[in-house]
Symmetry: D3
Subunit: 293 residues, 6 copies
Amino acid sequence: MFYTDGKLQFPVRVERPNPVFAKALQQAIGGVEGEIRVAMQYMFQAFGARGPAKYRDMLLNTATEELGHIEMLATAVALNLEGAPLSLKEEVSADVAGGAVLNGMDMRHILSVGLAAMPVDANGVPFDMSHVYASGNIAADMYANVTAESSGRVLAVRLYNMTDDPGMKEMLAFMIARDTMHQQQWLAALEDMGGETANLPIPNSFPQSQENQKYSYAYFGHMTDGSIPEGRWTAGPAMDGKGEFVAMQSQPMGGKPSLAPARPDGGAQTGQTSKSGSEGLLGRIEGAIERNI
Amino acid sequence: MFYTDGKLQFPVRVERPNPVFAKALQQAIGGVEGEIRVAMQYMFQAFGARGPAKYRDMLLNTATEELGHIEMLATAVALNLEGAPLSLKEEVSADVAGGAVLNGMDMRHILSVGLAAMPVDANGVPFDMSHVYASGNIAADMYANVTAESSGRVLAVRLYNMTDDPGMKEMLAFMIARDTMHQQQWLAALEDMGGETANLPIPNSFPQSQENQKYSYAYFGHMTDGSIPEGRWTAGPAMDGKGEFVAMQSQPMGGKPSLAPARPDGGAQTGQTSKSGSEGLLGRIEGAIERNI
Amino acid sequence: MFYTDGKLQFPVRVERPNPVFAKALQQAIGGVEGEIRVAMQYMFQAFGARGPAKYRDMLLNTATEELGHIEMLATAVALNLEGAPLSLKEEVSADVAGGAVLNGMDMRHILSVGLAAMPVDANGVPFDMSHVYASGNIAADMYANVTAESSGRVLAVRLYNMTDDPGMKEMLAFMIARDTMHQQQWLAALEDMGGETANLPIPNSFPQSQENQKYSYAYFGHMTDGSIPEGRWTAGPAMDGKGEFVAMQSQPMGGKPSLAPARPDGGAQTGQTSKSGSEGLLGRIEGAIERNI
Amino acid sequence: MFYTDGKLQFPVRVERPNPVFAKALQQAIGGVEGEIRVAMQYMFQAFGARGPAKYRDMLLNTATEELGHIEMLATAVALNLEGAPLSLKEEVSADVAGGAVLNGMDMRHILSVGLAAMPVDANGVPFDMSHVYASGNIAADMYANVTAESSGRVLAVRLYNMTDDPGMKEMLAFMIARDTMHQQQWLAALEDMGGETANLPIPNSFPQSQENQKYSYAYFGHMTDGSIPEGRWTAGPAMDGKGEFVAMQSQPMGGKPSLAPARPDGGAQTGQTSKSGSEGLLGRIEGAIERNI
Amino acid sequence: MFYTDGKLQFPVRVERPNPVFAKALQQAIGGVEGEIRVAMQYMFQAFGARGPAKYRDMLLNTATEELGHIEMLATAVALNLEGAPLSLKEEVSADVAGGAVLNGMDMRHILSVGLAAMPVDANGVPFDMSHVYASGNIAADMYANVTAESSGRVLAVRLYNMTDDPGMKEMLAFMIARDTMHQQQWLAALEDMGGETANLPIPNSFPQSQENQKYSYAYFGHMTDGSIPEGRWTAGPAMDGKGEFVAMQSQPMGGKPSLAPARPDGGAQTGQTSKSGSEGLLGRIEGAIERNI
Amino acid sequence: MFYTDGKLQFPVRVERPNPVFAKALQQAIGGVEGEIRVAMQYMFQAFGARGPAKYRDMLLNTATEELGHIEMLATAVALNLEGAPLSLKEEVSADVAGGAVLNGMDMRHILSVGLAAMPVDANGVPFDMSHVYASGNIAADMYANVTAESSGRVLAVRLYNMTDDPGMKEMLAFMIARDTMHQQQWLAALEDMGGETANLPIPNSFPQSQENQKYSYAYFGHMTDGSIPEGRWTAGPAMDGKGEFVAMQSQPMGGKPSLAPARPDGGAQTGQTSKSGSEGLLGRIEGAIERNI
């Protein structure tokens, strides 16, 4: 259950409203790198948490914090839109770099919401909840969270570099700091659970003896000239300490797939209901093998 | 530029076709944890790679491998659908656990594709390319890739546990092994670039002096009773060695946000074009401060 | 800014876990009638509120309450999934009406989230934020909120009727009551702003003298036999007291639209770059008039 | 079954084509406030109507009218695009306010459709049919329709204010009038069915004795300082005449949710398969109660 | 502008309501092969038609017919849902093949619409208007229409084969006939415009002298063993009579792409801002050439 | 299984980077007319191919070629973005027609990907895989492919006409040639399978005797004035040689649909649970007939 005090976690100040920057800020609200995503992702991870309760609590705290970040950014968007032109003939502010304001705005800021934030990205594409990653595996989720905070901080830095409004820079400097912490936090949680060695491969509950271990630490090359890009991933001990990296060219271990002809009542063309003679004998045998005949 | 030999990377065998399992397998093709996602994600990361060429090459190889995994899974889906019922009155195979086949199938396997795979998830939701994470920051992308391979291996393990078809288990044991490697590979790439200390916080090109460092390593509690879930994230050195974790209760540093009234020609109600007396003096002052008046 | 106590607003009890009902409950989380929608809708309406502050506060309270409803339902889904079959051969519980469990489940409850809730509807379609209606016009938003709570209560009633689990009925009886209140609340807010007469037509800030008033209170019939379905909408004073309902057959006031031919360099077929003689003189003149030639 | 005469319901004239306004008009075609939505919404409500036939007929008439509004707006878009620049070097018309034409255009008007309308919103996001609200409950649907016409009229007013083309203002003045009528019409239908008292709470077929009536007319505060925004919704008789409004602080009636540990074969981490000691005794008991143990 | 008589184009009869078949029928309403798609596709093609008016009229007629097909199918869905179980314990009809009804139903038919049709496909995925293909090129559009009617007739045939209800078979036999005609109609329109020779390649308004004609009629092989699948496409005159088919192995004409390093203020990692020595001299030169240095 | 050589199929050169053209090029990557679509469409058609193997091989080759086209276009986008402004105050390049660069750019090229391509269209809408048409009917698929290559070539021509960069024109001239070939190729495949007469109507495996043949070659007029747009489709032999075109006015063969009243426990309003007297006798009888009473 949740509560609010109606106040902002950090002050949101806009000295020179810029409707084009309002559009850019939308990415941090409704983009895949944005705050709706992390708020909802941590929340659903918490709601579905199975295992030690402290991880659930840790997630729930940060989910709750992120709700306040949506609030800050939505306020920032609305303040940047104050004074935006509402008509095509309205005088265009000359002090906004990048040309005419209306061309660079999200027109739906005028048409759909009356100069406020929307849960969409910088192109007006609505956030969709398929980006809420909550796998039921806490280690996988921690990496998903590091990812979200990494792309989130990259975005915040780009927004910081894009604007020259002191108020906006101040707000973003706070958000960048929080993203720093959150990157650390999820990595710390992984360490708390035993670190990479204990947790990898994810899920660690599946016995590695049942995977096809010949290929568990092999980098596959698919270059036609047989070249391999060498790096930490082609030799030396694996990161989980459970294998040794090798590099090899990928080879087909299977044959050409061969499906049964289409069924007569299945809506195909009549020509598809039997196989013509264009396949060689080998192909048919391989197909048969794969189809277990 | 790409080439093919039309063969499967690993043999795909189905001993007892099961149309319900075909539906489950769709998650590994068109789900967010699936193969279209990783193929396209690594491909777009490679296509946009700026920096040392070896990372581009490494990505391109694995992108190319993943295309072959889509092929394997699509073949597995088609083979599991052979013999599926096409009509509501058709005799239902009794040897498929979980009851009537048609009820558990994806009906579009019959209606839309004539017993073949689709680029959709287990619920028939089409894959959408917003899940292709390629940020232009290689460290962020490596974590995104670890995430994809972690949720991918979790999914493959669940599919392995769900089926009892020996051919399907064999194929999945191979794919699980490849996911093991790919988890390792992206972590190895991070190490190749200097490891966590060198790369964090992401992006490491932004001077930390410009972020609001007071909050860069602080875990914020949002519980009304002031409790904090303790763990590796509340005390001790940060994971990047650049700070010390602290824990604190989150406090509002800003006031209540206060937007300007709606503009008369902006399509709002007339009552919204001026502020009523329901706000206290303090609220108005805070609002004014935030609006830089 | 937000807080939590980690507790449930109302107890969530499941006596007989039913994974099929877990799927049905998803509609109340991630469906268009569900709780994510209202939480986010009220939140964005509050964040963008321009006008008297009390409406913003009222919205923010209820947005915060709805977050707790997501939590309750997510808990209910997870509890209903405990004991769900994870494999196709697992013994199927006989006491679940409607047949085999796995066929009626959302397979992604197993494959993607490890027996927890997802932000998707009963068909696994992710919630998308385009359903967050926040128009910047508070009266329009109040009607949007009445709509959300009406379809939400209809859904909750259908879920109540679908289940026979006492714990679930108890939880839903609470949620139905809250939906009752919320329907009332938004209608009360309309009354608070002056009621229908003062607020209609929405937006009331547009001078009605500028609309084409001949058609402002006219019900248009489009039946080829000229019949009109009579009701409160075909005669008598309009609901806003500003007009008198009339009924009339709809007639075309414009001619056939006639666009200019395609431009030679516009990627059309050559045959489209001039108009053939199949149009009568009248059509060309009407077209010309509409194109202001 | 449907018919057409190929003519426009109202003349569509464009004196000064403006490709940027063409983009804005798209919101009225394919936006959530637009005409495809209402046409399809009323149509599906009519097609699924169960109950007195006159409501079905009333809906069908208006659905049919709205089809003609799509036609008018599509014509308006096409006429606004005549003369649009097709290349990046083409001379830019100086008489279009808001700067360079191409920057403000929807480029897909050139690239995808050859200067015609698309079923997308002002940001090029395609309309998706999840916005067709047809609940099977006619009162809920009437409110959904009032909502659609309210946001639709708000949008039309904003478009009217945005343009200074006399032809476009004339067309929009007609559409604004129709939106006025349609707001009235759906409210009149509610009155026709007995008005608010008879119809609320929606659905009125559910016995209120079965809801948790203690909370049916209670406004819940979630502010940490205990403040309540007072208004028509905090005291006095409820709008449906069936209760009395009260205001109260929201309190958790449930405990902390506690799910069972992850199952060993469910793809979680091994650490998640048992609960650690970080939970207090009280939490475990509450959890047990909720899980009905 | 449009009209209706409220009647069905063809009678819709259901002898034995089957809620599972109702779900299958949804594909013909809201699937990509369905009727909303063709109605809207032909409508937008008509609304944007530039060129001879008769094609616009032809399109508009058929668009109008297709609206009636949505109506027929929506009626068929609603009739198939009469008698559907509303609760999990309700007695399950034994005469529906394929097992328990509720498991095979679209639950939203109960939860969201009260036993009526929705604008979604058989998996409950809402139709989205990006499938409305209207390119501004009439020949391209005619092929798009043939495609729509081909996949539509394939779907209708599969539905016909799936059901054994005489009323449904009768309705589908009519719809299949209409799909036959519409396939013919669009091909006839192509012939009317001069046939394949005149219209290909599409668009025929682009001078073929400006394309890279060396590759205009060449089938490219990408098989690593150099094999080519022979057919009508590898030899003989091209279908448009403007070239001669040849077959060849595809060879890279470009080098490895090489992008400039990331910019220091662009949010990348520091390691990406210069290129390491892992690229050979040749690669750098090729890159430079492509980057026009 | 797939391979790569990391080289471009055709050189990609950009003389004057233009970030606005980068946005336009996105349509050819992630638009419905773009290369992701054809690559994936041909790939899934190949993976699910049932029937003669040569068609599978033919499809697989071209799918593999199209992957390389994504690569070329992604490279073109990245090269066009080099030098793009990263901040709102940055000096705006004067030599780009159409005004300020930033206003015309896709801001996500800066914010989300660091100056690289994304799998989205020119409006930033992500490609979604529902556009991968693979019906299981090879003739339907060939028409789908002709459509894709027709709209693809129309798009490429428009891009060619939009740019004046020699490198870009050269690349597009190559792609236009490939689209020419691919249009030919799919038509040649249809001929290879017997041509239109043999293949139509699609699917040709359904006995035409079972369709309602009275309407199989009839053009239906829906104009209220009874006019029919005459053309090849209104008279003469049908294109498949199996019928004779006729034209007729469409007439309702069914009555008004009449659904049963809503069920008392189905969440409707009480007024919907019985039918009022507003229907005439005839309507009720027709309804009864259709409901088979």
